[in-house]
Amino acid sequence: MSGSVSTDDLVAWIRAFHEAVQQQKDELTRLDSEIGDADHGSNMARGLDAVVAKLDPVPASPADLFKTVGMTLVSTVGGASGPLYGTFFLRMGPALAAGGQIDADALGAALRAGVDGVVARGKAELGDKTMIDALSPAVDAWDTAAHEGPATAARAAAEAAARGRDATEPLVARKGRASYLGERSAGHLDPGATSATLLLQALSDTLAAAE
């Protein structure tokens, strides 16, 4: 297999994430109406529509790509998701700025920089019933599997994200709008962890197809 990831692969990832969010838009909004304010699907879809409109022509480098994606999400999504997803991509860019080949270790380091950015901006911890519950185990799983190449690492990360997402169901939310429900937030999947899982699944699907 090819051990490196191209700019085209990363563009394909963003497009796949856009498609997944479009397909799951109503489900994301439904989850958000259980414990939030019923707009996660429509907000993410609106932001990613704007992102995809800026992917043609293809950005010159991964750093340019992620800067464009991050800035566009920050300025179009709104809510908490805009700054958080935006920060994720804005932090990934510089981590890849060196310009060399992107192998599994490099992409893993960029993903971790993105997740660290989300933690710093949102101040959520593992178990708070947020997107961190999917993202944090995903980057750990990536690192563990990185020696087997990016496609395998991405699959491991996507599976870990899905487990993290599922584990949010019984949790009582401690961050974000769901936290206002107190105990009543338990028994529902977290919408942010659900969209974050789509992000990792899109990466896994894209890198599997690129092999």
């Binding site: 304010d37 999504v77 709104g78 809510g79 908490a80 958080l84 901006r121 709008r177």
Partner: protein, 331 residues
């Protein structure tokens, strides 16, 4: 659900068009979705910028004008505005004397205003921020995103807007804003859910014989769901947690009873008739009262009660002239 819409995706843009058509004292930056005073900020005057998700009208755009806000950034329905919207509002109204950001405590609002403040500071605008977190329904705030910002925001924008109009500097304006914020407590009750235009159906199901106690202003369910009660009993459910939370004799206060969008004024007055004696009995010396739809949650039936413990200065500033689409007196 029947609504006055053309396309649900255009609700905000088209509502802004209506505001522009109705109110010559404000202007609308349609691109950035910002409502501003028609006149530029007077030299040396500290500017007040607020904003938040739409669906709470008249908050915030309806409070732009003499004696209150200088600009308001309007997010999508129930979605905070983005940093570039807030930045555009901030840069447009800064006279050089600095800008106060008035932020309701929701994760999205705080994050977006924080990013906007960083960008504004980097562009040379001095920014102070106050975060309103007055909703006593959120009890375990150490472990959550904290209390929500609700009705105290209206009173803060009025009182602090009056001080800025008098020419006070940014530090004094921000100081008063923090004092008003920490002096306010709110509690809301919902009799129905509400319908976000883009979702097209009520955010949650609420049977005819039940109500939600401790709701915010985004159609989110409250802290508990109980059997529908009489207005007298509901008044107690609203007053008790507020009085209890103050934990000390309140004394002179400004009181806001706001409908949440789907409750007629006659019911709001009926409810206030129950609330007022309970507040008085609990030691709240009601000095000023505002009743009506001032901070709403789309078409939700329900009401929120806000009590702000007020000193002489706050009462004087409350009485000062105000000319906005949503609040107007003394001018």
């Amino acid at each position: 659900m029947k609504k006055f819409v053309n396309d649900p995706a255009d609700v905000l843009a088209e509502a802004l068009r209506g505001i522009r058509a109705a109110h010559p004292n404000v202007r609308v930056d349609a691109e950035n979705r910002v409502i501003l005073r028609a006149e530029p900020t007077r030299a040396g005057k500290v500017a007040l910028v607020s904003g938040g998700g739409s669906g709470h009208e008249p908050l915030h755009g309806g409070f732009v004008g003499l004696g209150m806000l200088d600009a308001a950034a309007a997010g999508e329905v129930f979605t905070s505005p983005t940093p570039d919207q807030v930045l555009a509002a901030t840069q447009a109204v800064d006279s050089g004397a600095g800008v106060l950001h008035i932020v309701k405590n929701y994760t999205g609002d705080v994050l977006n205003f924080e990013m906007a403040a960083e960008l504004a500071e980097a562009s040379g605008v001095q920014v102070e921020s106050v975060v309103v977190a007055d909703d006593v329904a959120v009890t375990d705030s150490t472990w959550t995103a904290g209390r929500r910002g609700t009705g105290t925001t209206v009173i803060l924008e009025k009182v602090v807007g009056a001080l800025a109009e008098e020419g006070a500097d940014l530090a004094s304006v921000a100081d008063l804003a923090r004092r008003v914020s920490s002096a306010g407590r709110s509690m809301g009750v919902a009799l129905t859910s509400c319908t976000v235009p883009a979702a097209g159906r009520p955010t949650f199901e609420l049977p005819d014989d039940e109500m939600e106690v401790g709701v915010g202003i985004h159609g989110e369910p409250g802290r508990s769901r109980v059997k529908l009660a009489s207005a007298r009993e509901i008044a107690k459910l609203m007053v008790d947690p507020i009085v209890h939370d103050f934990g000390e004799p309140v004394g002179p206060a400004i009181v806001l009873l706001s409908g949440l969008g789907g409750t007629p004024l006659i019911e709001q007055y009926l409810l206030y008739g129950e609330v007022a004696p309970l507040l008085a009995a609990a030691g709240v010396d009601i000095q000023r009262v505002l009743i009506g739809d001032y901070i709403t949650s789309l078409d939700m039936a329900g009401a929120s009660l806000t009590v702000v413990k007020a000193d002489e200065e706050m009462l004087r500033l409350w009485d000062a002239p105000v000319v906005t689409p949503g609040l107007r007196w003394g001018a």
